[in-house]
């Protein structure tokens, strides 16, 4: 087990290195650069800036310097927010993104799974159609529409919740609900399909004919086996939602890191682009790792403790 974790960790480092390298060179291949401004920088002022940010060095040595700093955990100074470091900006935004992302996905996934189970058990009855309706709506309507509707209805119309801002628990409800909506739909669909498939298999028929109670069959046999595909999505979903969503953050004014994904690219903030990319990649890799660990819990055949 220990050896397996170590191996996975090693692979993670390699993956991150590949991601960093590809991002670094793609980013520099974009036309324009961070110092391009409409004020028509004089060549001397430009030289001073290039010197300060090391942009005057050959690309390969810039790469070397970046990698060296990265080894020391230093993501550099933001090229846009001149007095702030990428590390401090990510750490500053993480709590907000993580609260919304973690709670939103956990709540959404839990409700989604429960709804999926209900739908599967009531196949082709009213409750099933109700769930199908929610799923169709949740999957086909884009997230920002839900966010805007919640904001308008609860914030502007009923005035029971704040429209936007980040001052306390009250301000977290709508962003969390918006994120959860997406997860409810996605996970209800997975759970239902997966359960129906298992419920039709021979060993379930066997279990039933052995005289096991319906509850035992459902919880011990069906659910356990049906959880495999759900787990596959669980880890990465958690990981990506923790780094925040640009749409939800900008609609509700959540001071998270989701917005940096978009703004850093628009502003050619090289260090921030790399920072966000690496940070997300690391989390996604960890997410998959968690999924892999959970497989073993659900199905002893894929356990890796040998």
């Amino acid at each position: 087990m220990g050896k397996y974790v170590l191996k996975r960790f090693g692979l993670m480092i390699v993956t991150l290195w590949v991601v960093a390298t590809i991002t670094f060179f793609l980013m520099h291949a974009l036309p324009g650069d961070p110092l391009t401004t409409d004020k028509g920088l004089t060549p001397e002022a430009r030289a001073n800036l290039e010197e300060k940010y090391g942009l005057n060095k050959p690309l390969i040595s810039q790469y070397g310097i970046y990698m060296n700093n990265l080894l020391h955990g230093d993501l550099g100074i933001s090229l846009r927010y001149k007095t702030r470091t990428v590390n401090s900006m990510l750490m500053n935004g993480l709590p907000a993104s993580a609260k919304v992302g973690f709670l939103g996905s956990i709540i959404g996934i839990s409700i989604g799974i429960v709804m999926g189970i209900i739908a599967a058990l009531n196949n082709k009855k009213f409750l099933d159609y109700f769930v199908i309706f929610i799923v169709v709506l949740g999957v086909s309507v884009p997230g920002f529409v839900f966010a805007s509707v919640y904001q308008y209805f609860f914030g502007v119309k009923l005035r029971v919740l704040p429209v936007a801002g980040w001052e306390g628990i009250k301000y977290m409800i709508l962003p969390i609900a918006s994120l959860a909506t997406f997860f409810i739909a996605t996970f209800a669909r997975f759970t239902k399909t997966s359960m129906l498939e298992i419920m039709g298999s021979d060993y379930i028929e066997t279990a039933k004919s052995k005289g096991l109670s319906n509850t035992t069959v459902i919880f011990k046999h069906v659910l356990r086996n049906a959880s495999i595909p759900i787990i596959t999505f669980l880890g990465p979903s958690l990981a990506t939602s923790v780094v925040g969503s640009f749409v939800i953050e900008s609609i509700f004014g959540v001071p998270g890191i989701g917005q940096f994904f978009v703004t850093s690219v628009q502003q050619y903030d090289y260090t921030m682009i790399l920072g966000t990319t690496l940070f997300t990649s690391a989390l996604v890799i960890v997410g998959y790792f968690i999924s892999d660990m959970l497989y073993g819990v659900a199905d002893p055949r894929i356990r890796i403790d040998k």
Binding site: L30, P31, G32, D33, T36, T37, D38, K39, G40, L41, T42, E44, A45, N48, L49, E51, K52, I77, R80, Y81, K82, T83, R84, M89, N92, G93, A96, K124, F126, Y129, F130, I132, F133, V136, L137, S148, V149, Q151, Y152, F153, G155, V156, K157, R159, P162, V163, A164, G165, W166, E167, S250, I251, F252, G253, V254, P255, G256, Q259, Q266, Y268
Partner: protein
Amino acid sequence: MKVSKWIILLLVFALLFTLSLSGCAQDEEPEDQDQDNDNPNDEDEGEMAENQLLKVNLSAEPPCLDPQLSTDTTSSEILQDTLEGIIRMDQSGQVVEGSGMAESWDISEDGTVYTFHLRDAKWDDGTPVTAGDFEYGWKRLLNPDTASDYTFMAYDIVNAEEYSTGTVTNPDEVGVKATDDKTLEVTLKAPNPVFISKLQHSTFFPSREDLVDEYGDRYASEANLTPSCGPFKVTEWAHESKIVLEKNDEYWDADAVKLDRVEFSMLTNSNSLMGQYKTEQLDYVTVPSQFLDQYKDELQRYNTAATYYYLFNNENEYLKNTKLRKAIRMAIDQTKVYDTLAQGMTDSAYAWIPPGIPGYDGKTFREIAGETLFDDIGTGATKDEVVQLVEEAASELGVTADDLDGKISYLTGDTDSSLKYGEVYQQMISENAGLDTGIEQATWKVRLDRFSEGDFTMAAMGWIGDYNDAMTFMDLFLSDSPQNRARYKNEEFDSYVHDAMEVFDQKERVDAMVAAEKIFIEDMPIAPYSYGTEIYVQRPYVKDIVRLPLQVYDGKKWAYVLEH
């Protein structure tokens, strides 16, 4: 069968629910107007509110509150409230002695040596504001290690350019010197009548050497690392979320400051912004274009010191022809464009210097030079004239008018709205000038890059003034200006602008610039199409926000709120 029946039924319910929501939205409007019209134009002012709190939105997280590194308008809005330079424009936009940190100043006979006499003033921690703080700040701006993009603002000063570019290494040789704690002596390379008005820019604000040494790169990066000597101080800065200013009791003119607290949110989403205004979480807000119609009865507006223009590449083998450039601008009915796409709230431009920029004798530059220096198809030019111009241009270029088809491509922003405008222009140019043109979209940085490489024909561009004088626009298109992306060269124009740079008499200077503008529009190296306009809604209880055309929009020094 059964499945689809249920789903359809539920979807119908959902549809009805959504419709009922949008129905509510429409119902609400008249109700709101009633509320606002309770005291229509209530002139007898109510009581001053007990709680002097103003809630507003800042368009984004301020990228940098270090005055010497900051270059953007968002940061500038905070800096103008928390720091104070040698001068501060008064409520009417005038620069008068004693309105800022300098109580008075003397200018030497030859116009090159300025001696500023500073008043007794303190930083928010009680430390006196000294001439040394200014000397330090300005030299810090120029120091190559600081790597500021705005060093050019100070190039009027002796050895400023030389020091910032490294040809002079000793900062003592720069023409800025604190002769004692209260006296700042500045020596210019040549007399410059606009030097004083430049000093309201945040680049020239003082900095604290002791604190820069102590905080290093983190100077002004957090609320407690941001010193203040202006009307307000930063007391809370939750990055990407909120910034709070409170009255600075140590400010020299603290008696004039009535607000106790200003809270800025940093919302970017238009729906959220207007939702916050509607639910009274914001006291005023700039109205995003898609909301103009909904708020049309409440809208207020003011001009900003900005002009937007079609940038032409004057070195292009076709656009080097003046008649062709003119024909393109004249073919566009700019007012009609704004009536359809912007509810008629934006002013079309028919000259280069925007309204609001001062002239002399109490008149603005525009009032002296005339509002309109050319016509387009909407203001009197005829289609025949435009077509005639195109034909003349073609024959001067030695081609036929048909050969000009497809040679010009309009380079614009990568948003849907930019494309929408681009398509309207394209259609108007085709209809009225008979020219087929293309549209290209690219991001801001890519466009800037292509401008500097000359890889464009026609593009959308704009300029926001840096100081309160027509020169901030005029010097842009001098032959040797780094901002001259049009690659325009006209010696006569250059010489008028240079004259205006050296003369002190305001009338003479402005007249020289009026003459320069006339030549400029006659040549039309770029074609102005609109002036900057800020459209906002504001609660009636908010009073005395100073909105000036320059970047220092909504100055809050004198503002207050009534009981509401």
